[in-house]
Amino acid sequence: MNPVSTALRAVAANWDRMIDGFHRKPLPVRIAVMVVIALFFYALPLLRPPIITTNSIDFGGVMFGVVAFALVALGLNIVIGYAGLLDLGYVGFYAVGAYTTGVLTAYHGAWPFFLVLPISIAVTMVFGVVLGAPTLRVRGDYLAIVTLGFGEIIRICLVNVEWLGAAAGIKDIPHPPSIGPNPEGPFAGKKGLFDIPRVQWDGIVPSLDWDHATHFLTFGAGDAIPYYWLLLSVVLLVIAADRLVKASRVGRAWEATREDEDAAELMGVPTFQYKLMAFALGAAIGGMSGAFKASGQGGYINPQTFPLLLSMLFVAAVIVGGAGNRWGAVAGGALVAYLPERFRDINDYRLLLFGLALTVLAIWRPEGLLPPRRTRRVKAAEAEIEAIEEGELEEGAHA
């Protein structure tokens, strides 16, 4: 065992101990810690801490992309992590959500965003059911292949269907309506409900930058931070809903189906219905993220926005984070979206570095950064049994 892997193992053990320690704290303490962490993330694009901030690209915009990715990972975690269905075409749902929003708010209609958002979610959910109903009868690898095809079909349709803007895509998708007066231009005077300055760092000396203040809840082209806040709030709501549903009969049925589908069916779980539910819910959350992405700062989508590679990155996010744990999925999604942006400075090598980081993670921690606690319990038990067996073998050898 080389020193690097020993060191990495020690880091992992400490990390797990910290998480376990957190879970043993009394509830008020845990809530307080959660609130502090949430507030930190709300403030992050304003704080712009030196090493974390991306300098070559707008940090607020990056952070918006990061949460959008985290939301997608959260949805895919239901499909892969909870129900154990490998979906390799998840980008298809992301695209459906984005295009529904694009078509209804800009291309063929001018409906307000907050009316279109639930419609986008519903449409994506219908797509999930329509794709899931015939395909969820096949299992494992076959499902992966079918969904992979679905993702590509959606993209190719987008390229070819004139009604959906074809290859040129849809532009000028309106932003969500601002709360407070709209500013005339980016950073032009005090607009919105109130202004929040960002922090400027001179080395390690912080100062307030009022010239680039964020207008509170003004969704304009100039500043991505309000979008980030909106989407972060949505993510927190989805996490809460996820928690409620997972810790119920529904979550148990998913888990039982994942563990042993036949046994689950014979214990009275209508497995097909629950797989379909997981698929549809996952699709809906993916569509929701797509809808926000479409009406985000840029307001522009085209078929190239939804390449197959994105599907793979979504799956990577869930696996890297720790399939089956919502916090793991969020962390994985955030990381997979953030790393390539952070290393934009070394443009030619950034994907190489990113791939390297994923590989190291896969070797070092195959169960993910934040696996469900019970996955770790299983692993610990297995290691224990292995140690006992090895011990016995050695004793046998000495005897």
């Binding site: 009969r249 529904v250 148990r252 039982a256 563990e259 046994a263 014979l266 214990m267 779980v269």
Partner: protein
């Protein structure tokens, strides 16, 4: 939970009606006839043993009853309802529960969660109930947990309720399978070789448990190899060999049946 007041003094063996009827069931896999015109019935409140040498078709028979396989011809009726085209989870809801010969627990779930999955079989809680934590959700969840705890107590593994199923000892895993099956609220509990791999002491304990289960009002179908266990606990026995029923009767009758002896020990050619 079924009525627990069945008094043991009544003649439970003959007086009661048939709960499950296997009616001329034939099952073919291509050219292989796994079950050949098998008929028997399980009466309410009894412990029926299904025995036979390896490969006789016991587990196949089980699988036909629980909907895993569809019979090529013939019919299985439960409480008068034919099960031929019914979905597997609906058969479970109707009141047949089973354990598996090779243990099939939900390994990464805790002991109590395994039982809860069974207890959810009749739950009407859906997505919205769970999301909104409706009164129905709270009531059903509370009932399910109470029932799961009760069943774990019955099979004797309550102390380990928060352990992962995969961390249980082999014997406790078998017990958990029984508790999980009972949680679905069955009228008929089918145990597929529950004593496989048990030592004699564990077998005695299992026999006690099976009797306790019957006394709690369940009808039990038991597939088993161990003759002592089968003879000691069952009310009636059905014997299969090469997919055919060769005998049926009380343990005493079966013990002396020449066809059964031949099937198990082989025919003594010198004597014939």
């Amino acid at each position: 939970m079924p009525d627990t007041t069945t008094d043991a003094t009544a003649d439970t063996v003959t007086a009661t009606k048939a709960l499950l009827e296997v009616d001329h069931v034939t099952l073919k896999f291509g050219g292989l006839t796994a079950l050949d015109d098998v008929s028997f019935e399980i009466r309410e409140g009894e412990i029926l043993g299904l025995i036979g040498p390896n490969g006789a078709g016991k587990t196949t028979c089980f699988n036909v009853m629980t909907g895993v396989y569809r019979p090529t011809s013939g019919q299985v009726r439960f409480d008068g309802t034919p099960l031929t085209k019914m979905k597997r989870y609906k058969i479970t809801k109707l009141g047949i529960a089973r354990t598996f010969q090779n243990i099939r627990l939900f390994k990464s779930m805790t002991v109590i969660e395994n039982v809860l999955v069974g207890a959810d079989a009749h739950s009407k809680v859906g997505f919205w109930d769970a999301l909104l934590r409706t009164p129905r959700y709270r009531r059903t969840e509370g009932e399910a947990r109470a029932r799961a705890a009760e069943l774990l107590e019955l099979v004797g593994i309550k102390a380990r309720h928060d352990e992962l199923a995969s961390n249980l000892s082999y014997g406790d895993q078998r017990r958990l399978e029984i508790a999980r099956a009972m949680a679905t609220g069955p009228k008929l509990l089918c145990l597929d070789e529950p004593a496989a791999g048990f030592n004699p002491a564990e077998k005695v304990k299992l026999m006690e448990l099976i009797r306790k289960v019957r006394d709690a009002g369940y009808t039990v179908l038991l597939i088993e190899h161990d003759m002592r266990l089968v003879m000691g606990v069952t009310d009636r026995i059905v014997v299969l060999e090469f997919g055919q029923k060769i005998a049926e009767g009380t343990p005493a009758e079966i013990r002396d049946n020449p066809a059964v002896i031949a099937a198990y020990l082989g025919v003594d050619e010198d004597a014939s």
